[in-house]
């Protein structure tokens, strides 16, 4: 394994793909411009040179190449699909929801569909309304699907490898702002985490912030600010959104007695609507403070960077929400 360049989130994904392709000849990749272009976000890089027959450039046909992945999975392959931007997953919903996710159960266990759908999500880059969305919440209600969102380079690779080895369809979301993040500490810093397990990123006694993906970065920054004000924020990274680690969330909220639920997607009907509800149903009598959600305003994401900032969540909003749940 080359160590010349520093490892990044992007490279961790690359090495994970490469390792799985090396040890399992059934693993194939399908996506747009993932051969010589190396993928829009340069994740697949030179894999097509190492595995020329196993890296397929698809025409711009999102729904059908996702369906092709399902078929190839039924045929015995493990398929990693790349959807260039999560916004385009709108085109592939039928094959994800009605084929990939249902087959194992509806066919009474005769088949499973070991596909991973990798796709970059999220904003803060001025890419505008059709290239910036965080649409994870839709998939919370899709039975049979798993949803995994790494938030740092230390876990990204192992999570992707586990996703590929998982016999179930996994939606694997990569925040665009994370690709360049360095793996501090090199390979030794890598950590393995099973799918379905959350990660306690920072302990704190006063308020729990439940989040995922890039939200972890915002939560940590807010926590830094609040720490100076004497508020201990516990940051919990869900990592797997579906099926999520309810026990860990409940345990943390029971400890702190209050919680802020943070995501980049639209607040209304977001991923955190589920988490906040689950906490309200299960931990109501353990609360000594409030519950609050922070996320994007209920608007399309404007292109103008100044406007985008106003629509997407930011650190001050997280700080304010923490303050709010502490006022009883």
């Amino acid at each position: 394994m080359s160590k010349a360049r520093p490892l990044t989130f992007r490279k961790e994904l690359y090495w994970a793909l490469r390792a799985e392709m090396e040890c399992d000849p059934r693993v194939i990749l399908i996506g747009e411009d993932i051969r010589d272009y190396g993928g829009a976000f340069a994740v697949t890089s030179d894999l097509y040179r190492l595995f020329p027959e196993r890296v397929l450039n698809a025409p711009i046909s999102e729904n059908s190449y996702t369906g092709v992945a399902v078929g190839a999975a039924l045929g015995g392959h493990r398929v990693v699909v790349e959807i260039m931007f999560m916004d385009f997953i709108t085109l592939a919903m039928d094959q994800i929801v009605n084929s990939a996710s249902k087959i194992h159960y509806v066919y009474a266990g005769q088949f499973s569909v070991p596909i991973v759908i990798r796709t970059p999500y999220g904003g803060y880059r001025g890419y505008g309304p059709s290239h910036s969305q965080s649409l994870a919440s839709w998939f919370m209600s899709v039975p049979g699907l798993k949803v995994v969102v790494p938030s740092d380079p230390a876990h990204a690779g192992a999570l992707l490898r586990r996703a590929i080895r998982d016999d179930n369809p996994v939606l694997f979301l990569e925040h665009k702002l994370l690709y360049d993040q360095r793996l501090d500490g090199g390979e030794e810093a890598r950590e393995d985490l099973p799918i379905g397990k959350s990660r306690l990123v920072r302990e704190g006694a006063d308020v729990t912030v439940v989040t995922y993906g890039l939200g972890v970065r915002l939560a940590l920054r807010a926590s830094d600010i609040l720490a100076k004000q004497g508020v201990g924020v516990e940051v919990l990274d869900l990592v797997t959104l579906k099926p999520y680690d309810a026990e860990a969330v409940f345990a943390s909220v029971r400890k702190t007695g209050k919680a802020v639920f943070l995501e980049e997607g639209v607040i209304t009907g977001g991923v955190m609507a589920e988490l906040c509800s689950a906490v309200a149903e299960n931990c109501l009598w353990d609360l000594d403070g409030g519950l609050a959600r922070v996320g994007a305003k209920d608007l399309p994401i404007p292109c103008a960077p100044s406007a985008e900032q106003m629509v997407l969540p930011n650190v001050p909003e997280v700080v304010r929400a923490v303050r709010r749940v502490m006022e009883v």
């Binding site: 390792a19 397929l56 025409p59 369906g67 045929g75 266990g109």
Partner: protein, 327 residues
């Protein structure tokens, strides 16, 4: 005559299978009327020659991807009406334990990769199965059924294109029964034949009489051989007609009784019967075979009827396969 499955390599076997399909579908129609099946189903009465012709041309391990109108495809491959009946009646002895029903009927053992409730939804799946065969260098080719209506779905376009550029071993069989539900093909496309679209993907096209089981068998056989030889996919169009309504709620207002009559005169089963007789098959042999077919369907119904409904612990299970081994 022993009670082995009809041998589709033989004309009499194909005849018997077509008849079984017809009788099965008619039985199902009755079960709906009697309120013994819930939900809905799309019967393939009139289209039996497509199913039997195509499936008979394939090897038993060639993957099949079917449609919402797929009982015939399933029976032609399985020769097991009890399994189908059980699935429709929601019994645990159905291959999907009743979860899939008519529109999501699947059998791993039979390489039958599902009927499909989404019009056009099976086309990419079949294409992916063909990709698997190519990558694994198997000698298998995929049979992908769909209707004329599905040929207007984006998946048709996208999938046939991919099969063509990747040169995949798949035979696309359009059962063109002239209507998508109530919509006549002339109102849903401006080409007179679906096969006219093959050229848009650089695909071979083949036009067949879908009312003639032997013509379908031969044509699909040629296409399968091409696929196996690495010569790429074919779009086969089999013109046929459904004698029944689209589904149980169909009042058939959109086509004329004359048109129906014209097609009924070309009934794939009775016309094949005549052909067999003219080729020397004896009437009493045929009658025996017909009795047997009817018995099979009746026994299948009884068997399925006697089976169990799923218990809660069979239904309320996680929708995941439990495997998560770390790297």
């Amino acid at each position: 005559m022993s009670d082995t499955a009809p041998n589709l390599a033989l004309p009499a076997g194909r005849y018997e299978m077509m008849l079984m399909i017809r009788l099965l579908e008619e039985r199902i129609a009755r079960l709906f009327q009697e309120g013994k099946i819930h939900g809905t189903a799309h019967l393939c009465i009139g289209q039996e020659a497509c199913a039997v012709g195509a499936v008979s041309a394939a090897q038993r391990t060639d993957p099949i991807v079917s449609t919402h109108r797929g009982h015939g495809h399933f029976l032609a491959r399985s020769a097991d009406p009890a399994a189908l009946m059980a699935e429709l009646l929601g019994k645990v002895t159905g291959p999907c334990m009743g979860r899939g029903g008519s529109q999501h009927l699947c059998s791993r053992d039979l390489a039958f990769y599902g009927t499909n409730g989404i019009t056009g939804g099976g086309i990419p799946i079949a294409t992916g199965l063909a990709l698997s065969q190519k990558l694994d260098k198997t000698a298998l080719a995929v049979l992908c059924f769909f209707g004329d209506g599905a040929a207007n779905q984006g998946t048709f376009h996208e999938s046939l294109n991919m099969a063509s550029i990747w040169n995949l071993p798949v035979v696309y069989i359009c059962e063109n029964n002239l209507y998508a539900m109530s919509t006549p093909i002339r109102e849903s496309m401006r080409v007179s034949e679906v096969a006219d679209r093959a050229a848009a993907y650089g695909l071979e096209a083949m036009r067949l009489d879908g009312m003639d089981v032997d013509e379908v068998r031969e044509g699909v056989g040629v296409a399968l051989r091409r696929a196996r030889a690495g010569e790429g996919p074919t779009l086969v169009e089999a013109k046929c007609y459904r004698f029944c309504g689209h589904s149980k709620s169909d009042r058939l207002v959109y086509r004329s009784r004359e048109e129906e009559e014209r097609w009924r005169r070309r009934d794939p089963i009775s016309s094949y019967r005549e052909r067999l007789i003219s080729r020397g098959l004896r009437q009493d042999e045929l009658r025996q075979l017909e009795r047997r077919a009817a018995q099979r369907i009746e026994r299948a119904y009884e068997q399925a009827q006697a089976a169990e409904e799923p218990a809660p612990q069979q239904v309320l299970v996680p929708p995941y396969r439990k495997v998560d081994t770390g790297p």
